[in-house]
């Protein structure tokens, strides 16, 4: 008796449908709007050179850091100094840490744009969109686990993303804007019941950018950039 592949695939798909996570509608709306805006601006000649954006196209692959295997081509992209960017003077802070001083050059070439949705936190997830913009031709990559959204109060981190994340890599593809595909889950540092107190917070995004060879996903160096702070009010 032969295996019925159609039935097998239908069964598998039914299982996946039953266990599928809901799509983040608000984040998708935000991303689509931004894309429409960018396209409209470009079409009407309003695109500004400094926003000639770079992109972050999904390539669901694990990122490897380190020495390329023997026989792989040498990295071909973007050697030399990094473009100017907003950077922290210390490591990415964790729960209870003070946000380190941020270096903000005039007209940075790499920017991390942070948008907060309404409501800002929903179901424990920070309802935010993140866009990493860098100059045309500069290939930059990031892992989703390397992009961290932090809720801060009085300069101190009070909520951090959970440890989830698949180590998915995204790499640049000139001509489009990149936006994080996932919404980080905010885990309060102190509250026992997992709830954040009502009040005013600031949202920072720390992103570790990588560069190297996108074909072999071998990265030669990294730089941490910062987006925010964006005010967030929780009711």
């Amino acid at each position: 008796m032969s295996y019925d592949l159609r039935r097998g695939l239908d069964t598998l798909a039914a299982e996946e449908r039953a266990s599928a996570e809901a799509l983040p509608v608000e984040a998708l709306r935000t991303r689509a709007r931004r894309r429409r805006t960018a396209r409209t601006a470009a079409a009407s000649g309003l695109a500004v050179a400094t926003v000639a954006a770079v992109a972050v196209a999904a390539a669901a692959l694990p990122v490897r850091l380190g020495t390329p295997p023997a026989g792989t081509p040498a990295p071909t992209t973007t050697a030399g100094a990094w473009p100017s960017a907003v950077t922290p003077t210390g490591p990415v802070p964790g729960c209870g840490d003070v946000i380190p001083p941020i270096v903000r050059p005039q007209d940075p070439e790499i920017t991390v744009e942070v948008e907060v949705g309404v409501p800002p936190v929903q179901g424990g997830r920070v309802n935010t969109g993140v866009t990493i913009v860098s100059p045309p031709g500069f290939q930059v990559a990031y892992e989703d686990t390397g992009v961290v959204a932090l809720l801060v109060r009085d300069g101190v981190v009070v909520a951090v993303p959970d440890a989830g994340g698949a180590g998915v890599a995204y790499f640049s593809d000139a001509g489009e804007m990149g936006v994080l595909a996932r919404e980080p889950r905010a885990v309060p540092c102190a509250a026992d019941d997992g709830a954040l107190e009502p009040g005013t917070y600031e949202l920072y995004v720390f992103a570790e950018l990588l560069r190297g060879d996108p074909l072999t996903l071998t990265w030669t160096d990294a730089m941490t950039v910062v987006g925010g702070p964006v005010p967030v009010t929780l009711d």
């Binding site: 032969s2 295996y3 592949l5 798909a13 799509l23 709306r29 689509a32």
Partner: protein
């Protein structure tokens, strides 16, 4: 673009699970990658959407875009695939054909090359004809048939004989003699492109 937002919401809410299931089959069970594919496809479609899109029409566009992104993705990461192939763990051999056969199918799909998995999903899940599969993937029909032949051979090794009815069509398909060659040829093809 309030209409676009409403259509997006309806699509994501009502058809999201179907789109994710489709994408998960394409990615060989990688749900995180499937989420990314679906989300990126929706953004791409709705980022250039014109007025008058209904959820049904939008879904058709999104499904096509999911495939396009997937195909572009594996073409883009061929270098990585070639390297990964060299370091992959040895095959554990055919899985037993038990009542949990869908688990075997999941593993068997994961073992296919991305192109092979895509043609299998389009042919047997989306029920497209071979010419339609070729059109969707931008491949020659002969290439699609070769991928199908290889895929069915590999699936058969895990699942037992696969009911492939007219999957490969009537054109001659280059089959290895003795039934044992696809591994070697497959490896050369994957690492050679």
């Amino acid at each position: 673009m309030a209409q676009a937002d409403r259509t997006l919401e309806a699509l994501a809410r009502d058809r999201g699970p179907d789109l994710l299931a489709y994408a998960t089959l394409l990615t060989g069970g990688d749900r995180a990658a499937a989420q990314d594919l679906v989300q990126d496809a929706i953004v791409k479609v709705f980022g250039r959407m014109r007025a008058g899109f209904t959820p049904d029409v939008a879904e058709a566009y999104v499904r096509r875009t999911i495939l396009t992104l997937y195909v572009d993705g594996f073409r883009r990461r061929r270098g990585w695939a070639a390297v990964r192939h060299l370091v992959a763990a040895p095959d554990a051999g055919p899985a037993p054909h038990t009542a949990a056969e869908h688990l075997d199918l999941r593993a068997a799909l994961r073992d296919l090359a991305p192109q092979e998995r895509a043609v299998v999903v389009l042919r047997f899940y989306e029920d497209l004809t071979v010419p339609d599969v070729a059109d969707r993937m931008g491949l020659a029909e002969g290439t699609v048939k070769r991928y199908l032949s290889n895929a069915l051979h590999r699936l058969g090794a895990r699942l037992g004989p696969v009911d492939d009815d007219d999957a490969v069509g009537s054109l001659p398909v280059e089959r290895p003699s003795g039934g044992g060659a696809p591994e070697g040829r497959h490896a050369v093809e994957r690492s050679g492109r």
